[in-house]
């Protein structure tokens, strides 16, 4: 399951998508809107995400395939929000199922790190004072 989603994210559908009788571990990750932005003193009220869907979905599929090649056998689900994500709400959800837990932890960490560096999604920080600023990831490719 690889998805861009305009509605609030929940982990349960991702967990269901990676469940397997041969798997003893499911590791999940939620990225949520934080009140502080790196290097900016203004409190954050929300993040607004936009995506180039065709490329973003293909890159997320590529990350899932790479996770499988490095840490598999596994099942992985990745979903990312578009639109406005308020403080405390999730913007990205990942679930990884594997036979044993070390591979699930490693693959989940790999997937979120790769997503932040590579996937064609952008975020506009919306501050409590009404100002906004597009904020690239430190991990983004130059």
């Amino acid at each position: 399951m690889i998805a861009l989603c305009a509605e609030p994210l929940a982990l349960e559908p991702l967990i269901a998508a990676v469940r397997d009788d041969g798997h003893g571990a499911i590791v999940t990750f939620l990225g949520v809107t934080r009140v502080t932005s790196n290097g900016d003193p203004r409190p954050v009220a929300a993040l607004e995400y936009e995506a180039y869907a065709a490329l973003a979905l293909r890159e997320m599929e590529a990350i899932a395939a790479e996770a499988h090649a490095r840490f598999g056998p596994l099942r992985i689900a990745i979903a990312h929000r578009t639109g406005r994500v308020d403080l405390g709400e999730p913007s990205v959800a990942i679930a990884v199922g594997t036979p044993h837990r070390p591979q699930a932890f490693a693959a989940c960490a790999f997937a979120i790190d790769a997503l932040k560096a590579r996937v064609e999604i952008w975020k506009n920080e919306c501050y409590a004072d009404g100002a906004t600023a597009w904020r690239p990831n430190a991990e983004a490719a130059p």
Partner: protein, 81 residues
Amino acid sequence: MDVRVLAFARLRELFGFGERNITCAAGATLEDLWSELAAQSGEAQALRASTRFARNGALAPGTTELCDGDEVALLPPVGGG
């Protein structure tokens, strides 16, 4: 020739469109298209070094020649997660 141009994030705001048909001279490259779009915006020009191009869904260098009907995307540094 006409190309379909997609602009995202700050570039969308600076250029004033998310998606638009633009007419280019025959033989124009991605870099030529960018120069024309960014001509009126010092901020956009300053973002060139951090901007990547995609042509028909695949990343492409600025030297790539455009063809009629191409879809071009202007991609700022990503910010997902």
